[in-house]
Amino acid sequence: MSKVKDPFVRIVKRDKIHPLLKVLFYCIAILAALTVGGVLLIAIGVNPLVLYKDMFTIGMLGSRFAYKSVEGLITIFVPLLITSLALSLSFKMRFWNIGGEGQFIIGALAAATVALKFGESMSSFSLLLLMFLSAMLAAGIFGGFVALLNVRFKTNETLMTLMLNYIALYLLRFFGETQAPWNFYLSDESVRPVFQKFAETAYMPTISIGKFSLNISFLFAVAICVGVYFYLKKTKHGYEISVVGDSANTAKYAGMNVKKIIVRTMFFSAALIGLAGGFYVSGAKVLSTSVTNNVGWTGIIVAWLSKLNTFAIFGVSLLISIMQYGAQAASTQFPIIDSNFADLLQGIILFFVLAADFFIRFKLVFRKSAKKQGGKAA
């Protein structure tokens, strides 16, 4: 018989972990990431404390226009939050919608079409309503179409949504770069092709609180967050989504129309992302080819980091927005730090948080401690 030695370290699944310990792990991870980032920053001659301070206060400290930082944060937070929530709907069903980018663009494009075509002739309220409805409908059909192909012909939704991202992007670029009499998306004023600014009726209304003006879309996003929570947790639709995601066979056995559920959920998922696109252009007042700001991709990260938990999605997307906004705000002071470094820092933090996630689910058992245990028992 061969003699078997204990391995130096083993990975053991944890059964339970105290919620406080969980929080502690995440805090340690963020601190560790900041430490690593700090070493890098010192190496290039930047004081990390100054940078971190500005980053996590999104540059509000000692600023003349601190309220502008909050406004700016909200403009990147709202689309990310809505997109992540929407993605969690389809992910919960194990339907891999990675077409957030494309659906966002289609939503933005639809809203812009309405804004440019009817901006002059409609009242603000009805125009905005029409913009957002058409954004949802267009994106919903764009995404629902993939689900339809999936249930009819068993096409792969991952590939389909991925490829449609590029179709949407190049469609947008086509409108953005083609100067022609029919192309109402472009400005008449400019000789170079630039997108036409919307009429004022298409602007997202804001609520003024002193100097600070709160974009209404923020309130909608919070409402959508609560709505998605109730939709998934309390409604029959939400229940169907979790059953289909868990076991399609069981869903069929229970008499559910699985195909219908898949198409419907994907439609809602895409429609919500389209709405986020509509909100965004209405706030920006004009289209652009980089309208998505990568929310379709970042949203996937947010959804998974949050384990598809609706309220965690709120927290994680807020954190990522603060990092994105704050890193840029902080790095303006240091000529040596460009946006790539800010991205790098975000990457380090994400990496450590994922590592913490691993240590929350598993623990390492070293040989020494195993021996000790054995000794005690003997």
Partner: protein
Amino acid sequence: MAAEYAIELRNINKSFGSVAANKNINLKVRQGEILALLGENGSGKTTLMNMLSGIYKPDSGEILVDGKIVSVNSPEDAKKLGIGMVHQHFKLVDIFSAADNIWLGAEETTDKSAKGKLSQIFLRNKRFTEIEKTAEKFGFQIDAKKLVKNMSVSEKQTLEIIKVLYYGAKTIILDEPTAVLTVQEIEKLFEILRKMKAQGHSVIIISHKLNEVLAISDRVAILRKGEYIGTVNTSETDELQLTELMMGKKADLNIRRSKVEKKQPLLEIRDLTVKNDEGAVAIDHVNFYVRGGEMLGVAGIAGCGQKELCEAMAGLRKIESGRMIHEGESIVGLPPQKIIEKGISMSFIPEDRLGMGLAPSLSITDNMILKKYKQNHLNPFVDRKTARKDAQEVIAELEVVTPSTEIPVRRLSGGNVQKVLLGREIKADPNVLITAYPVRGLDIHSSYTIYNILDDLKQKGVGILFVGEDLDVLMALCDKIMVLCHGKIMGVVHANKTTKEQLGLMMTGALDLTESDNGKPVGIAKDSNIKEGVQ
């Protein structure tokens, strides 16, 4: 090999979180004996054996192999120590041949020469003959080139056994090997086990079926709620004593069968033909009926159309031809939802228990409401309040072991999963209950609980179709037994007028009673709701 005991476990403890699965267990396995490990569901049998085979590591305690203290950190280690385990859920690659499945985990060759190493890299055709040779040594018949996905359950199990033998296992652990086998297959398996014992192998067989334990083992070790109760010699014990040791109390081993007055046929099946997933005919022009207050047993070798029949009646499978009449109304072509609403409830326990009927990641509460969440169309919200109440009732009535109603079903042990499934079907208050293998993998206590529940339902006038595998149970519990063979009905017999031998012959197709019954058509009720000539 001087040590008296092939395996010795000393003071083994293992906890999962706050639950102690094994408490201070001492167990000895002699060289060349068949030891049965007996215990109810959740008594810690599988956990203990998983530690022996390197899947878990004990929190404390010692494992001795041939008298020496060893540490088993992985299945790889166990393999080196000559311990092999055949799990309840087979660990085979479906698209590989039998030989390749064995080859996959084969030990590195001792031949360290370049040629030897090279032979490791390439798949040689020799592997097929080599494996067949090993099989022959132990008296197995196996086609080494057959793909696993084309194998029957019994063949897969045989392959698993050959695998551990090929890897040189001296001690073989079988986790509930008979749960998935037919009577005939079980006999064959026991033959093999005896042969292995004769060649000096030690065998540990995990089971909760008393008759089998008594038939095969030399000694029986009993676990109860994670604790070691003791070991008895098989020759000196009987069913009653074992049950008492296992359950900690005296038990009544008689299955109750109430007499209920005959009622109208509730569900009538005429000329039903159904195809399986591969497109072959699975149910072939079948006639039968179930009356209210009657339990009709269905006997048959595994995979001869039971699943397709159940699915067809639940609306999950397309019907090629024939009629299904429920209380005078056709249910052919109705969607599953409508059939559920009519009060026809179907529960099929597949081999993996979770495949159909339950959503593993959802809580007990959420699973409880699976079939009726749609009730009250006007309310868009799921009624979890009632579901929670149902869940609590099922947990209480069927003695489901769970910390709460909100635990995901996959975290429950196999028996408890089944109780949840069956509990839900009963809660749905059906008038026809189709239940397939409801006690598959359950211990005695749980099984009896379920038999009694079914009998209670029958008394209430529910028509029950009971698809079973244990002929003793079918004969004791059901009123009539219908025997299927390759999708055809071999006859319907009265349970108290038949014998195991007769049923066995019909199951294999050797006896066909459909033609010998004085021209009286089999499976067609005298007081049928179906008016002839009306299609």
